[in-house]
């Protein structure tokens, strides 16, 4: 059964706003991103199902923010910014997958974006197991997907 997006907004918009502010460090951009998250939810609401809507919206918000960051190419101000921007600028595995809608992955039609998983792991401090449970993937699958990104992001962490 699809979710009622208006009820989602009323209940979860603050969470989404905090997440966007955390990643973007810019109130105006965060407001834009919140709007974009729920516009996308409305446009895909027939595909939306979630046992834990907070988890779903958290990942959609992360994805929207990564797109914003990638588009803006701003100069990083903090180390976490640097890590986040490096993740945002990375291509996901597989050009064919990248060519499809990232949102489709989140809405369950494709596997989760590697970039979103990378943010969960490197910035949110989730374990492989927690990322796997959040995204519905196997731990080995998560580990494999992140392997390609790990060295580059880790190198950035060590520099700071």
């Amino acid at each position: 059964m699809s979710l009622d997006v208006e009820n989602l907004y009323l209940r979860y918009a603050p969470l989404v706003r905090r997440r966007c502010q955390q990643l973007l460090h810019d109130s105006a951009l965060a407001d834009d991103a919140v709007q974009e998250v729920f516009v996308n939810c409305l446009r895909h609401q027939d595909d939306m199902t979630a046992e834990y809507p907070s988890s779903l919206l958290f990942r959609i918000a992360t994805n929207v923010c990564l797109n914003v960051l990638r588009a803006r190419r701003r100069h990083p101000e903090t180390h976490d910014d640097e890590v986040l921007l490096s993740i945002a600028s990375l291509e996901d595995e597989g050009s064919a997958l990248e060519a499809r809608s990232l949102l489709a992955r989140i809405f369950g039609k494709e596997e989760e974006s590697t970039r979103v998983m990378a943010v969960m792991y490197h910035l949110d401090g989730m374990t492989f197991d927690e990322v796997a449970k959040e995204t519905g993937m196997s731990i080995s699958g998560v580990r494999k997907r992140l392997l390609g990104l790990r060295h580059r992001v880790q190198a950035l962490k060590e520099v700071a």
Partner: protein, 308 residues
């Protein structure tokens, strides 16, 4: 970020959506007095959000989503017609292909003056939506502005802000507001406008660039807004909000009004742009994307017109 008790965990606790595998971690977190303070701060923020009546904000979100759906559906219909050779004569397509590079000798022919830009000072800023497509240096592009806004991974995305619609991925924000009774209403793609509506256009660039804005209606009548006559594109300074000096009053013509924003990081003349827009066959005026030299970007907003 608190790595021991991260924000995402507290959000789950606050919403009572802690999955089984996080229950123990959540229980431990809640024993930390600092976590209790953070949770209380979040609760208060949530309460403030609910007190400011979020319903109008969601109505705006719904309007934007519906606008994109309509624009995407129109684009699909247009693509279908093209696929089956309906609506776009081959000769017309050939004409577009044959258009010379834009940077040519400027012409001095004036714009058709089917309407005038009313010299009406505006109070509150008025609003609208853009569908940006950047760098179309290839053959005539089939994708439409609407498709651009519907494909978040491949094209810049759009988001409405308090001041307008930002073309994410391109460093410029174009806003069109309709002046209503005592308030300015933000317009998004697909919003219906009416004869004599007053539209206020504004824009803001995040980097130095040159831009022009023109509009084309269903009858082929072209109006220059920025600059207000054929000439050189206007330089925009980063972060400086530009409110066009005059509101624009829509005339009685039927069909639609489509606003185009063209920008580049180098100076350019608008005459060739006007010529290209005038050359668009009627069937493509609502959906065509201009073939532009590399280094140019374009955005457009389509506002269907209806009689009151």
């Amino acid at each position: 970020m608190d790595s021991q008790h991260p924000d995402w965990l507290l959000e789950r606790i606050l919403l009572d959506e802690v999955p089984p595998h996080l229950l123990e971690r959540a229980r431990l977190a809640q024993q930390d007095p600092e976590v209790q303070v953070r949770l209380e701060t979040m609760r208060q923020a949530d309460q403030r959000f609910r007190e400011i009546s979020p319903t109008p904000a969601f109505a705006e979100i719904r309007r934007i989503a519906e606008g994109r759906d309509r624009a995407e559906a129109a684009a699909r219909r247009q693509a279908h017609r093209r696929r089956w050779g309906i609506g776009v004569p081959v000769a017309a397509l050939g004409l577009v292909v044959a258009i010379a590079p834009w940077h040519g000798r400027p012409t001095s022919s004036p714009l058709p003056d089917g309407r005038t830009t009313s010299a009406i000072s505006t109070g509150a800023p008025l609003t609208s939506s853009v569908s940006p497509v950047s760098g179309t240096a290839k053959a005539p592009e089939i994708a439409t502005a609407a498709q651009a806004s519907a494909a978040p991974a491949e094209y810049p995305t759009l988001a409405a802000t308090e001041s307008g619609i930002r073309a994410k991925g391109d460093a410029v924000t174009l806003s069109i507001h309709r002046q209503g009774e005592g308030k300015a209403e933000r317009l998004v793609s697909g919003d219906t406008v009416h004869p004599h509506d007053l539209l206020q256009i504004s824009l803001e660039a995040q980097q130095r660039m040159y831009a022009c804005i023109v509009s084309l209606d269903a009858t082929g009548s072209l109006t220059a807004h920025f600059p207000e006559s054929v000439g050189s594109a206007i330089a925009l300074e980063p972060g400086k909000h530009v409110l066009l000096p005059h509101a624009y009053e829509l005339d009685e013509s039927r069909g639609f009004e489509r606003f185009w924003l063209i920008w580049s990081d180098k100076p350019f003349e608008t005459a060739q742009l006007s010529a290209r827009l005038r050359a668009l066959p009627p069937a493509r005026r609502a959906t065509a994307i201009l073939e532009l030299p590399a280094g140019f970007s374009q955005a457009s907003v389509l506002l269907p017109k209806a009689q009151r």
